[in-house]
Symmetry: C2
Amino acid sequence: MKLAIEEAKKAWEMDEVPIGAIVVYKGEVIGRGHNLRENDQDPIAHAEMIAIQEAAKYLKSWRLEETTLYATLEPCVMCSGAIVMSRIPHVVYGATDPKGGCSGSLINLIEDTRFNHRATVERGILEQECGEMLRTFFREKRSLKKQIKQNNTDL
Amino acid sequence: MKLAIEEAKKAWEMDEVPIGAIVVYKGEVIGRGHNLRENDQDPIAHAEMIAIQEAAKYLKSWRLEETTLYATLEPCVMCSGAIVMSRIPHVVYGATDPKGGCSGSLINLIEDTRFNHRATVERGILEQECGEMLRTFFREKRSLKKQIKQNNTDL
């Protein structure tokens, strides 16, 4: 999870919502990703999606069996879907996302027995650190917005 | 939908499950995709995902507002999630997928009011043609498998 946090920090440095993910296979990191949605203007460029694609390239297979995905935030509806579609058997995440998380919060897509494949999930790993990054990011964003508004009023 | 079917046929020619998708913006096709999962060994290379990424590139925005996605098959869990995440407001699909579809069959992710964004859906457009492609594809696959088995027994 520390490596996923490192990925999230890369997103932060690029002024992206700090979310990171890695895919591990037999003890080796075979996929890394950090959120690039704004920089790339790509709705699919979430940390998990990038890490999954990199891992598939490494394994030369779309079936990511025997892998574990670590994400700093609970995967969204698309990323949870990608976990199901790539047959990742284990998911570990840090902070929960009560508003958009689909790996247990809003819905639990990755443990849904109606799909052909489902994952086991470990939640709340380094939750404090993962969540604090996001809270600080959004706090800074709000403060900046307020400052800009104040400056405009002063003009 | 005819253009989405054309895309599906491209997948078929590559021995992929024949699924195609397009994204339309103000009467213009701005994204096209056909299933490439096996050829690329990429779990994310579904027709809809490829069309969505191409459309975002065209619009230089991850927000695909004012667009319509046409898909020959009901979107799966990942693609339905991507529709939500890219804010596509209209979805039209051909054949329903009772086993894996997440735009109304197994779950209805794209009309779920708990998400910030949802789409209106039109179902069953050119359903017969879209479904027949899939049925023929799988029939041929099964027949080929049977033939190989028979040949092995004859040896």
